[in-house]
Amino acid sequence: MKNTNAAILELSNVGIGLPLGADRQWAVRDVSLTILPQQTLCLVGESGSGKSVIAQAIMGILPSALPLKEGKIKLLGKDIPKQRSPNFNLLRSVKMGMVFQDAVASLNPIKKVGHQLEEILLVHGVSRKERKSRVLKMLSAVLLPNPESAYRSYPHEMSGGQAQRIVIAGALLLNPSLLIADEPTTALDVTTQAEILELITKLKIEFNTSVLFITHDFGVVSEVGDQIAVMKDGKILEQGSVKNVLKNPQNEYTRSLLKAANLDTSKKKLKETEEILKADNISLTYKKGFFFNQTKFKAVQKVSLSLTAGSTLAVVGESGSGKSSLAKCLLRLEKTNSGKIYYRGKDITDLKGAHLKNFRSKVQVVLQDPFGALDPRFKIIDAIAEGPIIHGSSWNEANSRAIEMLSLVGLTPQSAERYPQEFSGGQRQRICIARALIMRPEVLIADEAVSALDVSIQVKILDLFEDLQKRLGFAMIFITHDLHVAAAISDSVIVMKDGRVVESGQTSSVFMNPQAKYTKMLISSAPGYQGGEVL
């Protein structure tokens, strides 16, 4: 019997320790939360804020390095034991279900998903006959178009969205009182994200469950949340109803996060200057395999674009749209199959040898993952100075310019002698930018350069790009899946889908008045979008 007023979940003064030698003593401390029946509580914070640790503590899957030291967690009025306990886990999994960020990775890759879902019923003693019919019923409840074929599929045969539906089906299979969703849509494209959010809202009513929704995205909060708690460095800074907090945030940090989530195209206007980089109908096809099982994949199909000096062009699209392949073509890292690329009016499509090397110094790149982009055995100064040295600078000159670049991107000269591991993600991205700009490029290509960063760091790095562009005057191609980022930084934009350009134009006109059906859908599925205004 569910008492309508009693809390489903209650956390009082929860403190979870960190191992010795971590940057702080507590992963989270003094966390008190209450989730009422049929309510969705959104736990919002950036990475390292401790929000996922709370989910793991509630679910009883905390790693042993992070002990639950203080406070109480009550589920349906009963205390949850502090240690990992096998017996209690079985009980707990009846009352709570959990959904993870990477759905495909949270399924066993070599077992059919139907069997994996049945296993949940099996360990809870449901008879063989009943298992299959309950799983199929659940698969249609999560709106998979063909439950029978989904039942027989392997995880890798599904898209991220379909796999997330499977995981949600698994979490709700035992009709739990609480669904914990840990960044369930972060790894998904915007359009899929919108569908999954809608699904969670629908199932919450259908299954009469409460939801603890963990996210970093205020757009998502405004779509699904009833209550919100904002976390930073293991503490709750602000909590209340979503309406109040989003309209009238009390805390400075909440305000800064909200500001970062706005779709603002007012800053920029296209300047008419000379064309610096131009692509004319370029195509790129990848071939895979050997003799009989060769397959072709058309990554880029007849794409044209034009970049004027000092301006910024955003390339927007979902994963698999060919935007990174396009960047590789423009950087001459992949050989195009047809079409021409011009740099300052000169055909560079087939450039070789010294001419190609010269061109490379003019067009630089900043990549998505700041952790993978730096060689862990190179000191910062060596990483930055490597480019000029290869292009003929003396060692001394390159080093002194590298120090200059460090201060230009907002790092201290003392950083020069340190290794990449000693820096945070945002700082590393600054190093990568310094490494690109030391070549004095005329074009900077940024491939999802802020996607791996937290929102508040994103804002700072975007500001840095803009500031440096004003000072140094390079042109930028900014590749992103995030419409907010594209709106904030670009003068013009091209929208890509399946390797083709579906729409292009000035950023403000494309976003305010999209023409292509796909662009319209992309904009309307951005979380938090309500008729013309985001948030």
């Binding site: 079985l90 959990m98 993870f100 949270s106 070599i110 296993e119 949940i120 003799f291 009989f292």
Partner: protein, 307 residues
């Protein structure tokens, strides 16, 4: 799918053709076969007679096509020593080698994988360290040395001679050489299964399985182990491929009447037809074993099927 199978078969065929050609080239370059076959002090005319009889006076490419033709017809030549066909000599010895190799593989698999599993589940404590130390010892130990040590221990400690049962193959007699042969691969199986299992245990789907209420034992047996076994299949394939070639040294040490011993003897007596066939058989088993592994992957890893 059929494309995958066809391309694998084509590759196997090309590899075999290359091996056959390389064997031809090496044997031609290692000296004049006619001189090798003739008695050591034979005059030049006798050698020339041999050459004519064997077709060695013809141009090289004619010799090569003749050689290929013979091989495709299944004619691998005759031993000069005994006059028997090299194939029948090989087949006589094959059961003994397979018995020894199969036994040692069985030891390596069961002991190695169990040790690896124990080590992975006790990561970082003394059991893990002990297993890892053993595995380093196991594949650092040369089998001619370990074999001699086994014989010595048997003789001094148990008054039993383990160094060879002559031509008989017996269940007790196979143990000492099988242990010797299996020691090195026991070490690599232990190490490999430990790291594979550790990697799998830390995958998100096992955490997700725990959250779904699935017990630790069930997670280990139904989820972690099948996934961890996938990379092991490649290693098993290599072991199967090396079944004939791997036991040459061990067979010598224990006087085991297998193919390895035949190979050593044939090399010593310059019995070219037999050496040639054994080399081809070794290459052939390697190719077939790799082919089997490729097809086995289709069955155990659904992700391969779509590629």
């Amino acid at each position: 799918m059929t494309g995958f199978i066809l391309s694998k078969l084509l590759r196997a065929f090309i590899t075999l053709l290359l091996t056959v050609s390389l064997v031809f080239i090496f044997i031609r370059f290692s000296g004049d076969p006619a001189a090798a076959m003739a008695p050591p002090d034979a005059p030049q005319e006798v050698i020339d007679q041999y050459a004519e009889k064997l077709g060695l006076d013809k141009p090289l490419w004619v010799q090569y096509t003749n050689y290929l033709g013979q091989i495709f017809r299944g004619d691998f030549g005759h031993s000069v020593d005994s006059g028997r066909s090299s194939v029948s000599l090989f087949l006589d010895r094959l059961p003994a080698t397979l018995y020894l190799g199969g036994f040692s593989l069985l030891i390596a698999l069961t002991v190695g994988i169990s040790l690896g599993t124990v080590a992975a589940l006790n990561r970082g404590n003394f059991l893990d360290r002990g297993v890892m130390a053993f595995s380093v010892f196991a594949f650092a130990m040369p089998n001619f040395l370990f074999g001699l040590a086994v014989i010595l221990i048997g003789a001094l400690g148990f008054q039993t001679y383990l160094g060879g049962q002559g031509a008989s193959i017996s269940w007790v007699g196979v143990l000492p050489p099988a242990l010797t042969l299996g020691l090195a691969s026991t070490g690599s199986y232990a190490r490999f299964s430990r790291s594979s299992l550790l990697e799998t245990i830390n995958k998100p789907f096992l955490l997700a399985a725990e959250a779904r209420g699935i017990s630790r034992t069930r997670r280990l047996i139904f989820h972690a182990m099948p996934n961890a076994a996938i990379p092991l299949v490649t290693l098993i394939g290599l072991s199967l491929g090396g079944l004939i070639a791997g036991s040459v040294v061990t067979e010598q040490v224990f006087a085991w009447p297998g193919v390895g011993q035949l190979l050593v003897r044939s090399v010593a007596t310059r019995d070219i037809a037999t050496v040639q066939f054994i080399v081809l058989a070794i290459a052939g088993t390697m190719v077939v074993a790799n082919l089997l592994v490729d097809f086995l992957y289709l069955i155990i890893d659904p992700r391969i099927r779509v590629q």
